[in-house]
Symmetry: C2
Subunit: 201 residues, 2 copies
Amino acid sequence: MRRDTIEHGSAGRGASGTAPRRVLLEAQDRFISAWGQMGATWGISRTMAEIHALLFITGESLCTDDVMERLHISRGNASMSLRALCDWGIVTRAHRRGDRKEYFEAEQDAWSILQKVVRERIKREINPLLALLYEIRELTGVPGETERAREADTAVSAHNTRMDAMLQLLRVTDELGNKFTAASGEQVRRTADMLAGLEDA
Amino acid sequence: MRRDTIEHGSAGRGASGTAPRRVLLEAQDRFISAWGQMGATWGISRTMAEIHALLFITGESLCTDDVMERLHISRGNASMSLRALCDWGIVTRAHRRGDRKEYFEAEQDAWSILQKVVRERIKREINPLLALLYEIRELTGVPGETERAREADTAVSAHNTRMDAMLQLLRVTDELGNKFTAASGEQVRRTADMLAGLEDA
DNA sequence: CGTGATTTTCAGAATATTCTGAAAGCATCG
DNA sequence: CGATGCTTTCAGAATATTCTGAAAATCACG
């Protein structure tokens, strides 16, 4: 994919912003790239991650055209990606009085972003997987019952052991995720500070 | 992508296996599909995840041809994917005396698989991202120093606050991941059992 | 309603990823 | 060595994903 770096410089005209401003724009661009890259490796479309990065790092509410211009993407792409970000709950729609346009802003609390992403991924990916695995597990005997006939079959019983181990792992992961996403901002903040402290020790 | 379900049935000939065996094969196939699907949504190629699922759920050591046949994939694909799984540390090469072929087997402990995947993803994805973000953070002032000129600039200082929040989140995540991947099997098992218990409460 | 501004949708184009198969590489054995 | 059996590599094909742009839908307001 083509990814051109934007020149926020003095190229051309002299009045293109003060030095701190140029540095800020450059830092934003690099943040956007880094975030986009990360999104891509975790199964989120790069553009979606970039739009999110843009809204987060500028902290402003931007309209579709702002996003299109800054990221060089089409209207359709911007529209669809923004909607998806809203569905994930990490971007919200906003309006300005006397302006028909719709503006978007990103959740500004980093931990809250993570909570929302985790919540959504559990709901969309872990839970359906768990349901499937339970279904598959039952093909080879109900876990509770001790089925004589099947317990005798070494292959089946080994299979069941493996399935049960995987199910436990997913259940625990699911539960841990639920605990985390249910935590209040205060709880998360205190825990994070504690863990951040540990790391220096 | 085309994904055909394999018929492990009595179709055609009568001697195609006992009933438990057919059920086992069906359960394996469905596990493989589910696992492949999950891999795909988490940024791992579907085939790689499927091969891993196959090796895990059968518990056997299989050679390249076994994998090719069961999953209907080409030799090249099988070879590359198996190598990648070995690089991730969740599949190991094995040999049988009097046989030149190479066999592969999957780590059988589910928690250990997760530990290895987490370790690798931290190393490959979180750490480089952290490095990038530190670099970007320094464009707008060194965190420690109180730079008068820049502190005055509201936009820059808000930017720095956001960057610092994101950096803290990633540092804590990284550290948590390291703690988890460093835990012994015994520690993990005890913790998991504890958490599994909590969930029923 | 009618008009103009804005947003959404979606077929087809562009791009990126994954897969194949045949050729090249590498051991091991006779 | 040279043949044999197995593995790896990689260019090009197949497939999946993402993006575009223009048409259709929606909306706000007179």
